[in-house]
Symmetry: C2
DNA sequence: CCGATTGTTGAGCAAAAGCTCAGATAAAGA
DNA sequence: TCTTTATCTGAGCTTTTGCTCAACAATCGG
């Protein structure tokens, strides 16, 4: 339904531009070009609108995970693992960074949403650990470090520090160097 | 003044236990054991209470930076740099993780507060880059990666994933191994 | 003991924001 | 065209909550 999409789009834009504190249902209706009554025709309450935005974000992450998992099928080398991981998280965080920033720093997740994020992280780690089985004597710990680092740093450079786009390429390249060194170098 | 401390403590506990959405001035007054009037005797508005909590957090970070900076004075080896960095961020994130979690994921910072965080990060990177001058051909980029990684990962394991304390030692040790490998290994 | 200053109280005001509902409008079918 | 069903409208109700202020202690110098 076009009305539903307009409402979600308006809410997402308000969040991205002005933050959670500025999000109210009357403003959402005005920006969406519908009346407040229509908003409550399709969403039971204000939180449900934000939940739908969050759910779509999570769904994109889950879809990207499934795609990237295929790239790790045919006995990948460390350099492949690192490349797939970093490019995956970079892709994820490049999509609407302002909205992503507000969602992750101002909006409190429900328990269910937290569990969904945790499950996605656990699956990613498990998949990477499997690919690492031959290269590490403790694949799960190694994979945890790789995944959390790729996630956190791509988040920091693409989402938090949205004002320095010039360094994106340099930093992601350096990130790959670090992860590769961790995987291949013996002390 | 004891009243001010009681108000700040009450507000911090509400934030840590129930989150930003549950924080209202009447509840703060009740938990602090004072009347709502006294709250407004010492703070101009609700936001000022949260600001004071945030300012104290930032001040602790800045103090820790000054202390740790001394440990990097006498021509430190890579292993020392990594140890000082990781233990510093771990110390910072171990202090009241629940409160820290809410502050970083639910409370929107003012522009001034964002700038203060950015300045602290920039100073830390600059200090580490100085210590790295002999070990890297691009100290600033290398330092950025070290600092952001140590910060983000200690945050993730001590603050976000507060439910898995058993792995703290293992993961911080592994983090040090990764940063050390990045600093010392040639591809 | 007295006045003055400082600190405390909590009922209640005012603004903000989530949400409702009776009626208007449009679409579909007979 | 008429009826019915589905959708939309927005004034305003209700609740929440940040905040005020007139009255009330408590402390203290003289």
């Amino acid at each position: 339904m076009a009305t539903v999409e307009a409402i979600l789009e308006a809410a997402a834009r308000i969040l991205a531009e002005a933050g959670w504190a500025a999000l109210n249902t009357n403003l959402i209706a005005k920006r969406a070009g519908v009346s407040i009554g229509s908003v409550y025709e399709y969403f039971p309450d204000k939180r449900a609108i934000v939940d739908e935005i969050l759910n779509r974000h999570l769904a994109r992450g889950e879809a990207l995970f499934r795609e990237s998992a295929n790239d790790l099928n045919s006995g990948p080398q460390p350099v492949d693992i690192v490349r797939v991981l970093v490019s995956g998280f970079v892709t994820l965080h490049r999509d609407d960074p302002h909205l992503h920033q507000v969602l992750s720093s101002e909006v409190a997740l429900t328990l269910e949403q937290k569990m969904r994020v945790a499950a996605l992280r656990a699956n990613t780690i498990k998949r990477v650990a499997l690919a690492l089985a031959d290269d590490s004597d403790n694949p799960h710990i190694t994979a945890t470090l790789l995944v959390d680092t790729a996630d956190a740093l791509s988040h920091r450079w693409l989402v938090d520090a949205a004002g320095t786009p010039a360094s994106e390429k340099i930093m992601t390249n350096e990130l790959q160097k670090m992860l590769y060194a961790y995987l291949t170098c013996e002390p």
